[in-house]
Symmetry: C2
Amino acid sequence: MEKAQIKETILGMGAHARAAAHALAVLDTDQKNAILHAMAAGLRRYAPDILEANALDLAAGQDRGLSAAMLDRLRLDTTRLEAIAAGVEQVAGLPDPVGEVLADWTRPNDIHFEQIRVPIGVIGIIYESRPNVTSDAAVLCLKSGNATILRGGSEAIHSNRAIATALQAAGEPAGLPAHAIQLIPFTDRESVSVMAGMDQWLDVIIPRGGKGLIETVVSLARMPVIKHYDGICHTYVDKAADLGMAVAIVDDAKTHKPGVCNALETLLVHRDVAAGFLPKIAAVFADKGVVMKGDPHTLEILGEAAIPATDDDWKTEYLDLVIAIKVMDRMADAIDHINTYSSRHSDCIVTADNGRAERFMRRVDSACLFHNVSTRFSDGGEFGFGAEIGISTDKLHARGPMALRELTSYQYRIRGDGQTRTKCATT
Amino acid sequence: MEKAQIKETILGMGAHARAAAHALAVLDTDQKNAILHAMAAGLRRYAPDILEANALDLAAGQDRGLSAAMLDRLRLDTTRLEAIAAGVEQVAGLPDPVGEVLADWTRPNDIHFEQIRVPIGVIGIIYESRPNVTSDAAVLCLKSGNATILRGGSEAIHSNRAIATALQAAGEPAGLPAHAIQLIPFTDRESVSVMAGMDQWLDVIIPRGGKGLIETVVSLARMPVIKHYDGICHTYVDKAADLGMAVAIVDDAKTHKPGVCNALETLLVHRDVAAGFLPKIAAVFADKGVVMKGDPHTLEILGEAAIPATDDDWKTEYLDLVIAIKVMDRMADAIDHINTYSSRHSDCIVTADNGRAERFMRRVDSACLFHNVSTRFSDGGEFGFGAEIGISTDKLHARGPMALRELTSYQYRIRGDGQTRTKCATT
């Protein structure tokens, strides 16, 4: 498609989304939930169309030589589609964040202030491969009163179009405003830069995918970007740790699901317990086929069970059965190491000394800090948020698990009886 | 100065600021307040140096032909310097936002979650002309536990350097961490693009100044930007308005201080009260020399007292004794007009009908909505926030008056007794 045509199409979608956002902002909770239930039914009703579209994507993916893992991420079947529909119903059951009074107070001049949670407006989401994101992201945005413009990856374009069509077709008779959920129907790269430039229509852009995609969006975007970067997560086993607990937590954080962002990548061990702890965890890791890369002190203790780590290992998110290990002289060194190399996503201390745990938590600058809990709990569901759009590695607006509340803004509503600054100033 | 040298200098300041931020984050409230009091004393002690530096800026400004208004904004004297020092003491008296528990809860698996307010980290501030910003911004960032890198305008460089030196020299013996407050000592344009690119060191950038400056920062920045754009503020006089109150509010909002962002720019009047209201406010405006620009309906009522408005008037922030006036057939039209042309800063409805006021407030997408109160109250001081860094026109992180709380982020601290996802998942 011509660049000018792509731009015109997407800018038009932006203007439509703004109008839809105004309509969405005034829907009440019951109206939104009715739409969500209709959309869940729609996903079930349109299942044959969605699976047929998915078959086209899978065939194209095989032709293009996608890996088995990639093809698996792309694949939908009746079970997976039912899980997507159930996810929509689950969002209907979550509390509506919109309208919550965050604060209210009265000033000495009798002016009354209220800070109210409101939708953000129009949210752009750029994502790769997994077609369930089309539904998951759209319904979280809808429940929080936002319009969405979705831009999925080329490998899932047929599935994404079929899912978006099902959501729209089932939602609109139930009251979904026109253009509340829009999918960019083509996947030219140009569409990313057009989205990144249209800050008159998009209030925020959320990239979900690899580092390359996020980099592109960050360098082009004129509007706020909420980034979901990698998780270089640490666990520090303190000299006062219960070593049995430490083995269980480190094992869980590394091996329960190594391919996700809250999995452990670097293990730091206080030197006083290194000789006692490292052989214990190494035995577990050896059983599970975890490759151990250690600093010289670790290698001294573990011998040939580990291989040497290089400086690059402290900066690497393996997302695999590989772990970097370093022995620390003092807790302060562990804190420095984490503040230097962590992606500030999730880091953990294992210790029986609460005072040391508090010092660690006050000094480490990460979104989620765990004391005697596996970093694998860094997850919207495990936080009790119900469903999440991702884990933000940003520090502004949303940090850590990002769910419905993080998809809102606020507004001040100020009421009086004729106050003017001329007569009623308090400052 | 050479570009490479500018870049190296500023990147070095960034790395130092990050280290300072870690030191600042663990200062307690008393320590920070002691530093602030020492800095206020320092501004008084170094007053002769600061005023001497200011004289250099004023002389240079006169040579460069700055307007009288610009020179006045630049000028410091004993009274103004005392006000700056008193401002520092006022910030010392404000509650410390850091450490506030925003939420805490326990999950069924006995994991305890706490959401705690923490500093953002390193804040970049780019501003123009008024040298008081050097102190105001630095002390608000310090109280909220953040390191700052300040980049002021060339016209105030001597004053800014003298103020920053006074703050550092007086603060450091009282415990201010080295590099907690840094001023870029030169004003090459290149420094803005270096700052905008160093997202490894700056967590957020706040531009304060004209639209051109903000535009430049927005298009270059890789980190979040909190924008303080213009205030195209509206007041809508409803058919159910108390017209006496409406005259007082509109007069105040337009004429109390026309050069600021919360001043009224566009007046919308319901047609049922236009003939009764417009001549009343026109008489007040005529007395005060306010130029009235009206739509055809307004001109019919006001005759030669007003001149015709063009479409551009609805998009203009006059910051002057000029007002655009339009008669609306229905409140819905006023809402549409505001949602189209407002800069989403502050808008007002005057009406005695609370139901209509609520509808207006639910439907207008602006940071601050006023019912029967002048928009001039859109101000951190009048909100009771004590001191503000500005009024954000963004919707993410900080919206409306931005004070100490808006200069913070949060962190989750999660405590347990050995929970693993393998054994204790709740989802």
